[in-house]
């Protein structure tokens, strides 16, 4: 079983918080790629807006010693995901490629999975998504449109992974690390290149090399809430702030 897994790519991401400016470019790119329903004012008011990747802004201090920190949060595709064992119909599971897959057609909407996710990256379609007729022309045919009552979350743009791997096999062309057809929409969009995508099993991939470089005591790599034992497939790189005490700086 373990050897089998090593034959499959293990998809993951690196998020460099030091590069992120909080521009929300990834958020809109994701909404465009994945047919995410338009978040109306009422949706925000009811705290049920759907954003598969979001930018969280944290305040530190107050004027004049004030800082704001931005961090992009997306599904961590946990190796030990709290959302997977609780689904009564196995609509969410961990596949051979290290991703947490959400199968829309199996979902019956108990929302137990969202209940368990410590990152709050699972979103429920409380309403039937609606688009004016002409805007439907923009919808991505590679992605199923979810109706009311279905859970959804970041899928690492699995439709792009499927398409790229299929086309590379069809054309007998090797799929290189950092291939832009393979990268999720958010990774391609990010103006500062704060998001990186790749294969953890490939030691030459950009993300593996970064993890290698930054994983030492005092290094920048960490997993979000990793002490909870979720084994996230997304590594974060800490923001560098020279004015903060030396316990976590370079």
């Amino acid at each position: 079983m373990v050897t089998e897994l090593h034959n499959h790519p293990q998809w993951g991401m690196v998020v460099d918080v030091d590069r992120c400016t909080g521009c929300n470019g990834c958020v809109v790119a994701c909404q465009s790629e994945n047919n995410i329903p338009i978040n109306l004012e009422e949706h925000f008011n009811q705290r049920r807006a759907i954003q598969w990747i979001r930018i969280e802004r944290y305040w530190e201090g107050e004027f004049p010693d004030v800082k704001a920190r931005f961090i992009p949060i997306l599904c961590q595709h946990c190796g030990n995901a709290p959302c997977e064992p609780v689904c009564p119909v196995y609509a969410t599971y961990h596949n051979d490629e290290g991703m947490n897959v959400q199968v829309y057609n199996r979902c019956i909407g108990t929302r137990f999975c969202a209940n368990g996710c410590p990152y709050h990256v699972r979103f429920f379609n409380f309403w039937e998504p609606e688009w004016p007729e002409s805007l439907k022309n923009q919808l991505n045919p590679d992605v199923t449109v979810r109706s009311r009552g279905i859970m959804e979350k970041c899928s690492f743009c699995v439709q792009r992974i499927q398409r790229s791997t299929r086309e590379s096999e069809r054309d007998s062309v090797e799929l290189k690390d950092g291939d832009r057809g393979l990268n999720p929409a958010c990774v391609n969009a990010c103006p500062t290149n704060a998001l990186m995508f790749g294969d953890w099993n490939d030691s030459e991939s950009a993300i593996s090399q970064i993890k290698e470089k930054e994983s030492y005591p005092g290094g920048r790599a960490y997993g979000l809430l990793e002490n909870m034992g979720t084994s996230p497939n997304v590594i974060y790189l800490k923001k560098v702030d020279e004015s903060v005490g030396s316990s976590n700086g370079h």
Partner: protein, 200 residues
């Protein structure tokens, strides 16, 4: 037992009317259920269970048996993208016209097609094979697998799911094309049974 135990009182007029009415309603409900069940069963099987399955009427009665069998045309001559893309694709009218600008004078169906072509209007074919929106079926991967695995031509793979189209005058769906069938074939052929292969 007392005499008169099983003697039901004769219904009076009111009760008779009520019973008749209830019976009528019951009959309607019963036939409604029968219709619903027929509908559901047909849907489940993927083809109608009453009235026979002759395939839908198409706007132009294109006979596959004439073209694929008698003339020996290959499936991929018209359904060109089956070896490259997810959809097999219905050919453009322009492809038909490569022959039929000359061939087929006097045939009504050809005349219909020619007039549509001249008016720059597309032919609205009725879909025969359809999988739900949440299934992303890719023809190319299947053609590639079977041609490599069984060493056959692309067009010989088609009949595995579409039946003997070569001998159909009107195309009809012969396989249920339900998920069970897909998964069975995947398991037999060691193809991925990961949900994310088709559902995303």
């Amino acid at each position: 037992m007392i005499p008169g135990d099983f003697r039901t009182p004769k219904p009076n007029k009111n009760q008779l009317i009520k019973m008749a009415f209830a019976g009528l309603i019951g009959l309607i409900v019963f036939s409604g259920i029968v219709v619903a069940l027929t509908f559901v069963l047909s849907s489940w099987l993927g083809q109608p269970i009453i009235f026979g399955n002759e395939g839908p009427d198409q706007p132009i009665a294109f006979p596959h048996n004439v073209h694929a069998d008698q003339l020996g045309m290959d499936c991929t001559f018209c359904h060109r993208t089956v070896e490259k893309e997810a959809a097999a694709s219905v050919p453009a009218t322009g492809l038909c016209m490569t022959c039929h600008s000359d061939v087929g004078d006097g045939l009504e169906e050809i005349a219909k097609m020619r007039s549509l072509y001249d008016d720059d209007r597309s032919i609205q074919w009725v879909r025969v094979h359809r999988v739900p929106d949440h299934v992303h079926f890719v023809h190319e991967a299947h053609i590639r697998y079977f041609t490599a695995e069984e060493g056959i031509e692309s067009s010989q793979v088609c009949s595995k799911c579409h039946g003997d189209v070569k001998n159909m005058e009107k195309v009809k769906q012969v396989e249920p094309l339900k998920m069970g069938q897909c998964v069975d074939c995947h398991k037999q052929n060691n193809a991925p049974t990961d949900c994310a292969t088709c559902h995303y």
